[in-house]
Symmetry: C2
Subunit: 146 residues, 2 copies
């Protein structure tokens, strides 16, 4: 990524207005602690505005565009090193989602340092903080596999 | 308004993501041609995020914050010279709503030049172009008072 300062500021404004930063904990027995940790940055747009939205996607350049069944477009950044680099770029310009960006960076850091079950519990608690920041109505209690 | 280039770019991104540019034609017999021409720039946010949203409102500084009955906050710019100045500032950075910004500037220009009924009909047709740009489902046929 090689954004100019005004491109970074634009993307920060667009993410504040129309984007989302979150981490999903997906139950998955293939993973050591029973959960897959899946971080996301997502931008939304009505598919009626696909042509213009594709300009923004091309500017970002590091995600995937997909169309949902309800006619909404999602441009999704999922790769963790890309999320990290993108947030470090635009974070200084964020006004609404600064807290989510900082939390995501902290989670990616902790995730790379998990060595035992206790570390993973700390990571899960950090992920739960997104519910507060994103005003999620869903509050799930996640149980670690024994 | 005295925005830096990154502030202009941020506001363009935020408006692209979460804002709206439109003109309402309000039937009103007090006006010469039977309609009030009311231009708007509006930014939306959930009232749960009021504290952060107020930072953006303070940055813009030229509108009014109001809370709707459904719990949404609206920051509204209504004064025409302010809309014009604001759009001239951020328009170079817009990606999604460039068409709406250009149309609004064109309408404000035409509005100041209306001298007769024929001019007003041209103005009304321009205003109708917003329906296409904003994908409005409402299509109204406006009739001029005789």
């Amino acid at each position: 990524m090689n954004f100019s300062s005004t491109q970074k500021a634009y993307l920060a404004g667009f993410l504040d207005g129309d984007g989302s930063i979150y981490v999903r904990l997906k139950p998955n027995e293939d993973f050591r602690y029973g959960f897959q940790v899946a971080p996301y940055i997502v931008f939304f747009q009505s598919s009626k505005d696909r042509k213009n939205f594709e300009m923004i996607c091309a500017l970002i350049g590091v995600g995937c565009l997909r169309e949902r069944n309800d006619g909404m477009l999602e441009y999704v950044i999922q790769r963790q090193h890309v999320i990290k680099e993108f947030l470090l770029d635009i974070s200084p310009y964020l006004l609404l989602k600064k807290g989510q960006a900082d939390l995501m960076l902290q989670i990616l850091e902790k995730k790379s340092e998990v060595r035992c079950k206790e570390d993973f519990v700390v990571l899960m608690k950090l992920i739960d903080c997104f519910r507060e920041l994103n005003y999620s109505k869903k509050r799930k209690i996640h149980m670690l596999t024994p």
